[in-house]
């Protein structure tokens, strides 16, 4: 049995913190069929570019929407420039860097974040809340990985927020679609969308069967996907009973319009020894399974297609995600880059984090 609820957070109707900007008319529900994710460019946002352990004195290359970010450390502090230190500069300076071609950078949660947008608007207050990660980093490297998706970032996130795909595409990792009941709730504000999926007596995830020693045939599952729209960052938090808590930081940094980079962090500190080490590696397998579908899917969204997508009740979260992204993109196109909701406020309660497991 599937139950679906779709509602805004209470704060969505009360945007008193940014009273200056009038609200643009929202795209209609029908707009989900005019979804061209490749045309969406989000500005004034922090994007996770690298794990902190990956950055040393030698510049490494990253990109956000094809804008080059060269990152290295000066006196131990991370810096990001649009120009390589060895580059003979012949191109014009980007409007998204300061007079020296430097982007605003911040180091937090064990990641290097680069600001893409007006440099003067860079503010740590716009960093997404990731309460299951230690603010100063320090998780073991085996809980981190760099993985790429062969599709545009919004396509990858739309894939993530509809977890019914996992029962088919990733059945060998997380189990099939069989359960006694399934309940989906969607919450959103102007900067985030959160999907909560609750399953009773779901087939036990094979990876937990083999590496966590779960002997029961079924388990209760609560899965949360929370997406920070602007930064294309997601939290994927699964609570399995019996089983472990698996909080995953799943950013989808848009390196180019049709390719996505994920600097993944999965905090499995509280799981058993085997599961702790194996589960983060599942990302390599799962990402290939996702790309097998999203790669051919992605170019088919490069233009508006007169043939509309078909939707089911299961697509509620994905549809809402499309609408919110289009609404935000529309606002930005009109020159409104203000944050109307606070993305750095602790989201532990929203995602149902068992705080006792993640104290830093």
């Amino acid at each position: 049995m599937l139950e679906v609820a779709d509602r805004p957070f209470a704060s969505d109707t009360d945007h008193t913190e940014t009273t200056a900007a009038p609200r643009a008319p929202r795209p209609s529900l029908n707009a989900v069929n005019n979804w061209v994710p490749h045309d969406i460019v989000m500005r004034d946002s922090w994007f996770p570019l690298a794990h902190d352990h990956a950055i040393g004195k030698k510049p490494v290359r990253r990109a956000v929407y094809s804008h080059p970010f060269y990152i290295w450390r000066e006196n131990g502090k991370a810096v990001a420039s649009e120009f390589h230190p060895q580059e003979i500069v012949t191109r014009e300076k980007s409007p998204y860097t300061d007079a020296h071609g430097r982007y605003p950078v911040i180091e937090h949660y064990g990641l290097i974040w680069g600001w893409f947008g007006r440099p003067e608007a860079a503010d740590p207050a716009h960093l997404p809340s990731l309460p299951f990660l230690p603010p100063n980093g320090g998780l073991p490297k085996h809980m981190t990985a760099t993985i790429r998706f062969d599709c545009s970032a919004p396509i990858s996130l739309e894939n993530l927020i509809d977890l019914t795909h996992a029962d088919f595409l990733h059945a060998d990792v997380v189990g099939d679609e069989k359960s006694d009941s399934e309940d989906v709730e969607v919450f959103y504000d102007s900067e985030t969308i959160t999907m909560v999926r609750t399953l009773v007596n779901k087939s036990v995830a094979p990876i937990m069967k083999f590496f966590s020693g779960i002997r029961q045939p079924t388990q209760n599952v609560r899965q949360v996907i929370r997406i920070y729209l602007r930064s294309h960052c997601a939290i994927a938090y699964g609570r399995f009973s019996p089983g472990d808590d698996v909080p995953l930081f799943h950013p989808c940094t848009p390196e180019s319009r049709d390719r996505t980079r994920m600097e993944m962090v999965m905090n499995t500190s509280n799981a058993g020894l085997m599961f702790r080490h194996v589960m983060p590696k599942a990302g390599y397998k799962v990402s290939r399974q996702d790309s097998s579908m999203t790669n051919p899917q992605s170019p088919r969204y490069m233009d508006i297609d007169p043939r509309k997508d078909l939707h089911s009740r299961f697509d509620q979260a994905g549809q809402r995600y499309r609408l919110l992204m289009m609404e935000l993109a529309q606002r930005q196109a009109e020159g409104d880059f203000a944050y109307r909701d606070n993305v750095s406020a602790d989201c532990s309660d929203i995602i149902g984090l068992r705080k006792e497991l993640f104290r830093f």
Partner: protein, 318 residues
């Protein structure tokens, strides 16, 4: 839109010893050098009995002589100059001529324009590209260029280089050219590209939207140029693409894999395309290319050659 200049031959291929048959699409063209060493181009069809002029010979005075009945033509104008059996009558009406095409030569390539009145292309920088070759590919010119955008590894072979699906900067318009930069790996044991954090090299391509002529620059992560290639894909008969290329290595090659580029065969255009891989190649960059071409071609005159600024850095645009 002005008729484009097509790089139909490498300079070495055009001689005064033997005519060379090439195509521009379905138009056969014969090339040779006259007595002054100037490259000439005529329609590869004798106006007398339609025999291919390329099956004739180049006379000592630089005229091209048909191998069928011996009629001789001047390369610059295409005018008939001599009929062997009519040696007493050497003045022929102006209509007695083969179709002559505009010819230009620079940068080690011979270019032809089917519109004789076309202005000559701007000369390219005087650089030496010692490596060169020609490949015939059973793929249309448009598909060949699209494949170059979507997966260069199907059409190019650079020693030790593996092309990834990931872009440092996606295809965009820059000075009238289609420019992109692709991450590459050295062909050694390493993680698959989707799970690799850093890539040691990139391939920058600058492509003319009309002819598909491309400058490809292989660069390492310290901004050293390892290899520069000029690639000219020209549509030929029956859907075949003739690809001429010239290449040179960078002055500063560091590292085992970069040094291995000095070995013979460091760069080649593939004669055979893996059709099974091509069939399932997802259109990504090439989709963007079509949009850009439509935006660029009616409006902007493109740079005369993608090699005009070979060491200029790639800028970025969303």
């Amino acid at each position: 839109m002005a008729s484009p200049w097509w790089k139909v031959a490498r300079s070495e291929e055009v001689t005064s010893a033997k005519p060379l048959a090439v195509d521009v699409g379905d138009q056969p063209v014969v090339l040779w050098r006259d007595a002054q060493g100037i490259a000439r181009a005529l329609e590869d069809r004798c106006p007398h009995r339609r025999a291919p002029l390329s099956r004739g010979c180049v006379r000592d005075n630089g005229w091209l002589q048909c191998g069928y009945h011996g009629w001789s033509y001047d390369g610059e104008s295409g005018r008939l100059k001599e009929i062997p059996n009519m040696k007493d009558e050497q003045r022929f009406p102006p209509v007695y001529k083969a179709i002559a095409y505009a010819v230009a030569e620079s940068g080690g390539f011979v270019s032809v324009n089917l519109d004789k009145a076309s202005a000559p292309p701007a000369p390219v920088l005087d650089e030496t590209f010692p490596l060169n070759g020609t490949a015939h590919v059973s793929l249309s010119q448009g598909e060949w260029v699209d494949t170059l955008f979507d997966d260069p590894g199907l059409v190019l072979d650079i020693r030790g280089v593996q092309f990834t699906p990931y872009l440092m900067s996606e295809l965009r318009e820059e000075n009238g050219l289609l420019v992109m930069e692709r991450f590459c790996q050295w062909g050694k044991l390493h993680l698959p590209s989707y799970a690799t954090a850093e890539f040691p090299i990139t391939l920058i391509t600058r492509t003319r939207p009309d002819t598909g002529e491309t400058q490809a620059v292989l660069r390492d992560d310290s901004f050293r140029t390892l290899l520069t290639a000029q690639i000219a894909p020209v549509a030929a008969a029956r859907g075949v693409t003739q690809v001429r290329w010239r290449a040179r290595l960078g002055e500063e090659l560091k590292g085992r894999h970069a040094l291995a580029l000095r070995l013979k065969g460091s760069f080649a255009v593939r004669e055979n395309v893996d059709a099974a891989a091509l069939r399932v190649l997802i259109r990504s960059a090439s989709h963007r290319a079509q949009q850009l071409r439509e935006a660029i071609l009616p409006a902007t005159p493109v740079s005369s050659d993608p090699s005009v600024s070979p060491d200029s850095s790639v800028s970025a645009a969303a």
